[in-house]
Structure formats: structure tokens, C-alpha cells
């Protein structure tokens, strides 16, 4: 047996399906069913050299359970740690929630196109997030904050069902205090009656967007399916060009590299050509949403 067939300690294996061993460094509950995982390659050099783009995803493997794709929630501008925001919703996530700190999981990637940062740099940015949609968009949000001078005006609109269900609530309260972006929060319902910010759906926040140059803006949305129609309508109302409206899509995936076929949509594979698509893609490629 060659060194190659053992799991590689410091570099990804030549076998693209080989999971890399990573350690769960920290986990904490964001809500009753959503957990935040900080994960690091066992080898520290590898951890520091692991590069990715906001909007990309990784395949997480649990031996004996299987493999599923997850958006990366951390930013490459803070190297050394991968972060995931995961809802307990199926078989693999059910098992993953049993894994404690210091457990080893298998991870491979990053995969997918990610956000077109090279095009977005220099533009105004409008991020709209609902619920678990924060999982991929937090990566972009933190990336922009870490490279703030490279982008123009920056708006973040975040919606959740209730204050308790708002993911990364504390982080967003802190971001909201910053004066280099406009971060607006809303909840559909407030059973506690102590929510200090907007109550209502996320589209209610759009009138508060001031001085956005639509042609110079990239808008992104991720959230529950019901959100897309209404939020995209607001983007279009603002005059943002269709190819500058970006969304990230979910599909079943067993490989992440265009082999297993499950994420095929027309002539593209969500895992290779996505998961980030523009609204123009959605319009001309049927079946996307």
C-alpha cells in the first residue's frame, strides 16, 4: 500500500473522493435545531493553506453514514478554520449532531463556483438573508467586512421568524453597530415583545435602502424558497441588473465534482457551475428554481 492510499495528513489526496480528516474544534447551538461547527484540518499547515471562496461548499463525510454538501459559513480572509452552520434535518445531520468537540469528521472540497468576487469588487453590495440562508451568505458578508475598502456601499437585510430563531444574533447585533455598513434586522413575529428592531417580512426593509446606484450594485439573496419571488421583485424595482442579482441554490449531491449526476439542471451541474447563479441564469435556464 502506498502513502497515497492512506488519508493524506497535509495535502488533499490525489483521489478527489477521499475525505480529509478534520477535527471539530468547537460547536455551539445557534437555535434549538441549528448548530455552529468550527472545523480544522488535523494538520495545522494544511489548515492555514486551505483556501476557498465565499459561496463554495464542502462535502462532509461521516463514516458509516454517508456524505452531504454544506455551505461554508466562514471567510477565507480568516484562515485556519472552516465554519458550518447546520440544521438537524436528515440522517447525516442527525448523526453529526452527536459528534462532540475533538471528534474527527471527513471533509473534502471546496467545490462550486462561489461568488464572483473579482466582478463584485468595486461595487455596492446588497445582501438579503432569510433564516438558514445565512449559512452561505455569512461567508460573503464577513469577507466584505474584512476587505471593506474594496467595496462600495454595503447593505445587509436579515430576516428571521422570531428573535430566538435569528442565527448569529449576537454577531449581527455587533455588526449593526458598525458605521461602515447598513445592517437592518427584522423578525416575522416577536413572542417576547422585546425585539427592538423591525417587525415584519424582510421586504419591509427595502424602503430604508438609500442612495444605492443600481447599475453599480450586486445583490445576493439566500433564504427559504418563498422569499425569492418577493425579494427578487424588490431588487428589480431598485433597478439592479438581472445578471447582478445572485442567489445560491441547493440540490442533492453525491460527489461535488460533476460525476454523480444528481444536481444536473439542463446542461449544467449545480456542483460545478453553481451553486451561485444569477437571476438571468434562472430566467434562461428552466428548472433552476
Amino acid at each position: 500500500m502506498t502513502g497515497n492510499s492512506q488519508i493524506a495528513a497535509s495535502a488533499p489526496s490525489a483521489n478527489p473522493f477521499m475525505p480529509e480528516q478534520m477535527r471539530i474544534v468547537r460547536r455551539s447551538d445557534l437555535t434549538s435545531d441549528v448548530r455552529f461547527f468550527q472545523v480544522r484540518p488535523v494538520d495545522m499547515e494544511r489548515a492555514l493553506s486551505l483556501d476557498y471562496k465565499p459561496g463554495q461548499f464542502m462535502m462532509v463525510s461521516l463514516a458509516g453514514v454517508g456524505e452531504s454538501p454544506f455551505s461554508i459559513s466562514s471567510t477565507p480572509s480568516r484562515p485556519g478554520m472552516l465554519e458550518f452552520c447546520i440544521r438537524k434535518v436528515g440522517r447525516l445531520t442527525g448523526e453529526l449532531f452527536k459528534y462532540k468537540e475533538n471528534s474527527i469528521i471527513g471533509v473534502r472540497g471546496p467545490y462550486g463556483n462561489g461568488f464572483p468576487l473579482e466582478k463584485m469588487i468595486g461595487h455596492d453590495i446588497l445582501i438579503v438573508v432569510g433564516g438558514l440562508g445565512v449559512a452561505p451568505l455569512r461567508s460573503l458578508l464577513l469577507y466584505i467586512l474584512d476587505n471593506r475598502d474594496k467595496f462600495g456601499k454595503f447593505y445587509v437585510l436579515l430576516g428571521a421568524r422570531t428573535p430566538a430563531e435569528m442565527l448569529f444574533r449576537k454577531e449581527f447585533f455587533e455588526i449593526k453597530e458598525r458605521d461602515d455598513l447598513e445592517c437592518l434586522l427584522t423578525v416575522d413575529n416577536d413572542p417576547t415583545s422585546q425585539w427592538p428592531f423591525n417587525k415584519g417580512v424582510v421586504t419591509d426593509l427595502f424602503p430604508k435602502i438609500k442612495e444605492l446606484d443600481p447599475d453599480n450594485t450586486f445583490a445576493t439573496i439566500c433564504g427559504p424558497p418563498v422569499m425569492y419571488k418577493f425579494v427578487v421583485a424588490e431588487f428589480l424595482k431598485l433597478g439592479i441588473p438581472k445578471h447582478q442579482i445572485l442567489m445560491t441554490l441547493e440540490r442533492r449531491m453525491h460527489c461535488g465534482i460533476g460525476k454523480c449526476g444528481h444536481c444536473a439542471i439542463g446542461s449544467i451541474y449545480t456542483c460545478l457551475d453553481g451553486p451561485v447563479f444569477s437571476y438571468w441564469d434562472v430566467l434562461h435556464m428552466k428548472d433552476l428554481i
Binding site: 473522493f17 454517508g66 442533492r252 460527489c255 454523480c260 449526476g261 446542461s267 449544467i268 460545478l272
Partner: protein
């Protein structure tokens, strides 16, 4: 490309000499049908076989195989020992099917499992005269100019043998005395005649130009629902298709629950769970949607991506589907011709 001749009467002797390179596989009769099998006795080879039940993809992507062994949280590659082998008797459509799989599995992110099996296998093609289910002329896959190591073309009492690779040249040299290098004008005449004969036998002839546009315009057609009302969603069309490559992975624990294997097995977009994600959302719950995906992938998506359909016209879906949904019927229906649905 180099061409030689081999007398038909010397075929068995040549097949026998191929065994010094590796295991010899070819089509054999199985009941009323044909299947690729190990040719322990070279006289078992079914030279008349047109389409085998399963296409040669089973040699490169077996229906089920292990990708990894795992023990606790550690994965080890599980490569099966693939001995050198010669696959004899692939018709041009199947060679084209293999070339499509090559593009999928060897180009971007090469698949080491496929690569290993592919590299261990010599491909020897064999010409054929089509039957009423063949439509390779429509898909332009009725002849091969590459994708093989040797290709045998019937030429009266002889075979014209094309040498397609350096390995092919090695294979000829295993028994060089059987081959004749003199090709004359008569051979050319015979070859042209044979080609005319082959081309005249196609009963299924379709003009597939503009298929992506036709598919696009048929997106909301009732056809898909009509086909879905009949389709059993059995997935047999995917199993027998030379270019269907979808797969699932599954971890199978041994009894200790501490170790096991990650296996990979064929899947079909006809299966209801094909696009089901955790949480219960199914992106392709309707059978009509899944049928449309199948045919979009064969007749539209692949053309957009590679400039050719991913149907190679082998006729296996025509032969196999229990309710007669197949690529020929779908093309007819899409092109506005009357079909029995």
C-alpha cells in the same frame, strides 16, 4: 491510421493469442440475448451479437463497487485489482458511448476508479450491420475514427483491421503472422460497398439538428405528462444506456459497526428519490419532470455542452423499456410525428 487484413478463418487463433495480453472478454449468447462475458473458449464469442443487454460501461463503472474502506474515522482507498484485459466486439455506437464516459470521468476531476479500469482495458471494435432498432447513423456514431486500440471491419472473407493506438500495434504483434499488410484497390471497393450496405440498413433515421431548440420549445408540452402516465419509473433505460452515469454512494457497516465500506452503485434519474434532499424537499418529484430530465440530458444538454447528443443510437432503450418509451419514440413525438403513447 494503419490498416491490415486478417482472414476470417484466423479470427479464433488471433483471439486465442490475445489472451497472452490479458483476460479476454466478448459478447456471448445468453438465452435469446447477448452479454459480455469472459471468453475462456474463444469459439463462444457471438460474432452476430448486435446489442448486449448491458453496455460495456459495466467494465469501467461496475454496477456496484467499493470506493473506500473505513475504520472508525479513517478512510482507505479500496481499489479492486484490475488485471489487463481485452474487450473484443464493441460496435461503433458502444465505442462512442465509452468516449462520452471518458469525457465525463477523465477530463475535469478525473475519477481514479474509472481511470484505473479504463487503462487496464484494451478495446477491440467490430463492425456491424444494423437492425430495426439501431439509430446510430442519426446520432453520427455508426463509424469510429478513434476510441479503440483495434477495430475489425468485415470485408467479405476477411476483416479489415484498423490499428488505433500504440497498444493496438502491440496487440497485432502478438500474432503478426496472421495479418496481411497488402491493401489493394479491390479492398477499398469492398470496404465502400460494405459501408453502403450498412448505411442502407438503418430503419430509424432522424435529423437531430436543432434538437436543443426543439426540446426548449417542448418544455411545457403535454407529451411529458403523457409519457409519465405510462412510465413505470423502473430505471431500466438508465441501466442499459451506454452513457447514463449517475450514481449514489452508500456506507455499509460491517457487524462491528466500527468499520465498513463506502460503495458506489448505479442510480437512475427515473428513481423517485433522485433529487430528494434532506428535509424532504424533492426537486423532481413528478415522474414527468424526471423523464424530461432524462431526455433533456440525452438530446439537449449534452449537445449544448459537447456539440453532440449523449445518445449513441445503440437501441438498448428500444429493446428494454417495458412500456416502449425510448429515444426514438421521444424524438418522433418531439418532432410532431404521430406516436402511440
Amino acid at each position: 491510421m494503419k490498416a491490415l487484413k486478417l482472414k476470417k478463418e484466423d479470427l479464433y487463433a488471433y483471439l486465442e493469442s490475445l489472451k497472452s495480453y490479458g483476460e479476454l472478454w466478448g459478447p456471448v449468447k445468453r438465452g435469446e440475448r447477448y452479454a459480455y462475458a469472459r471468453l475462456v473458449n474463444v469459439r463462444e464469442v457471438a460474432l452476430q451479437a448486435l446489442r448486449t443487454i448491458l453496455p460495456p460501461k459495466k467494465f469501467f463503472v461496475p454496477p456496484r463497487f467499493n470506493m473506500f474502506r473505513y475504520s472508525e474515522d479513517r478512510y482507505t482507498e479500496a481499489f479492486e485489482d484490475v488485471k489487463p484485459r481485452v474487450l473484443f466486439g464493441l460496435h461503433p455506437c458502444d465505442i462512442h458511448g465509452l468516449m462520452i464516459l471518458d469525457e465525463l470521468f477523465l477530463e475535469r476531476f478525473p475519477d481514479p476508479y474509472y481511470k484505473k479500469r479504463r487503462e487496464a482495458t484494451a478495446i477491440i471494435g467490430l463492425s456491424c450491420i444494423p437492425d430495426d432498432k439501431c439509430m446510430a447513423r442519426s446520432t453520427n456514431t455508426h463509424a469510429v475514427e478513434g476510441g479503440f486500440d483495434l477495430a475489425f471491419n468485415e470485408l467479405g472473407e476477411e476483416y479489415l483491421v484498423w490499428v488505433g493506438s500504440s497498444l493496438g500495434d502491440d496487440l497485432v504483434r502478438l500474432n503478426l503472422d496472421l495479418f496481411n499488410e497488402e491493401i489493394d484497390a479491390q479492398d477499398l471497393q469492398k470496404y465502400l460497398e460494405w459501408r453502403r450496405k450498412r448505411d442502407s440498413r438503418y430503419k430509424l433515421n432522424f435529423d437531430l439538428t436543432g434538437m436543443p431548440d426543439i426540446m426548449e420549445l417542448s418544455w411545457d408540452s403535454d407529451l411529458w405528462q403523457e409519457l409519465a402516465d405510462k412510465c413505470l419509473a423502473c430505471g431500466a433505460c438508465s441501466m442499459v444506456c451506454p452513457t447514463c452515469n449517475c450514481y449514489n454512494i452508500r456506507d455499509v457497516s460491517d457487524l462491528s459497526l466500527e468499520s465498513g465500506v463506502r460503495e458506489r452503485h448505479w442510480d437512475s434519474c427515473m428513481n423517485k428519490e433522485y433529487a430528494l434532499v434532506a428535509g424532504g424537499h424533492n426537486f423532481r418529484e413528478a415522474r414527468a419532470e424526471r423523464l424530461k430530465l432524462y431526455y433533456t440530458h440525452k438530446l439537449k444538454a449534452f449537445i449544448t455542452e459537447y456539440g453532440k447528443p449523449s445518445c449513441v443510437g445503440c437501441g438498448r432503450c428500444i429493446d428494454t423499456c417495458p412500456v416502449n418509451i425510448n429515444v426514438a419514440e421521444v424524438i418522433r413525438a418531439l418532432k410532431g410525428q404521430e406516436v402511440k403513447v
